[in-house]
Symmetry: C2
Subunit: 200 residues, 2 copies
DNA sequence: CCTACCGATCGGTAGG
DNA sequence: CCTACCGATCGGTAGG
């Protein structure tokens, strides 16, 4: 095989990462193996690992790619809107939609990675932690803006509401993926109305 | 080594399962390996696997043992009380306490197993699903009793409230295990008050 | 419950 | 980006 150009190598790299994300969403980031990834991308193991150096770096890049997917699905559609309750409601709706559409074959990638790495130290765990914390802060800031605008009561605790919204998303993911509960998205939307709607 | 008596074999079996539960709570039920389990119980691999036949059966028994721990920690202390809001509040409090005390070193076993197996078919997945569903029904029944007793509003949807309580537990587990948020149990209790307390 | 062993696969390296 | 290879470990079996 001839050496590839820089552009071709970049495409190959991206293709490997994309496949790694789908595989890891089902098998887990630890269950992801270089051999299987090589088989599915029609490459040699050495060809695959050469793009990353080691498995941990592959895991980190898969996680980064998954974060980008989440951002694209849930954040980007609402990024232009001004912070506050209307945007928060839209974000929540897109979040449930993202889970409902099964964007990752194995369910929410970040949730799976959270459960898998919450008991083991290392760079992957810290990266997952940052993803979750960043997203919590986004929610919290919109809750704060909503409260300041008078769309949520003065007594509203933004960190608590961000926790409650995350909680609903975790349970929705479990409802869809594990329980096969087709009503889970509707239940989630009812819970969100209960949380954000009734106090307006 | 001499053959052991039936009683001794049973003790050995129980010791292996107990060790398997702790290991799997950190490494996952798939990450659990017979070789490592053998090392930690000072046995040969053949000695370990002889008790189960294959790895799937070991996983199922570890899951059953974890279910028993959860039941002991959260259900048993309240089993004698009559269904209704006071018992439901006590169950929720024991549930948060169970997470707070880190009964399993890697966090809630059933939650971890749920994330790990929600994307792969098989007996383990079905067993996890049954655990979660059974527990949801327990919550739902107490919500129904509380509503019938007039302790929750007539419009209360028991399945929705069971979903919301599960959601809080999932987020609490993530807060404690992944985020290292020491306020997570307090936040969870606030969320439960918000859910079950304010409407009385 | 052990020793000894099986084929398969793991993450990764050397060298081109 | 490949072939060829490394030592380690996987789940599991045979036989005692």
């Amino acid at each position: 095989m001839p050496r590839r150009s820089v552009a071709e190598a970049r495409d190959t790299h991206a293709a490997i990462v994309a496949r790694a994300v789908d595989l890891a969403s089902v098998e887990g980031l630890e269950g992801l193996t270089i051999g299987r990834l090589a088989g599915e991308t029609q490459m040699s193991k050495a060809g695959v690992i050469g793009h990353f150096g080691n498995k941990e770096e592959l895991q980190l890049q898969a996680l980064r790619a998954a974060n980008a997917v989440f951002r694209r699905e849930v954040w980007d559609p609402n990024a232009q809107r001004k912070p506050g309750l209307p945007r928060l409601l839209a974000i929540c709706d897109d979040w449930i939609g993202y889970l409902e559409r099964r964007v990752f074959p194995g369910g929410c990638f970040i949730t799976a990675a959270s459960c898998e790495f919450d008991g083991r130290p290392g760079r992957v765990r810290e990266a997952v932690r940052e993803s979750v914390l960043t997203w919590r802060r986004v929610l919290e800031d919109d809750v704060s803006a909503a409260r300041a605008a008078g769309d949520l009561p003065k007594r509203t605790d933004p960190a608590l509401v961000a926790f409650q919204i995350s909680a609903i998303a975790l349970a929705t993911n479990q409802g869809i993926q594990l329980l096969g509960d087709e009503r889970a998205p509707a239940t989630a939307r009812a819970a969100l109305r209960d949380l954000l709607g009734r106090r307006r």
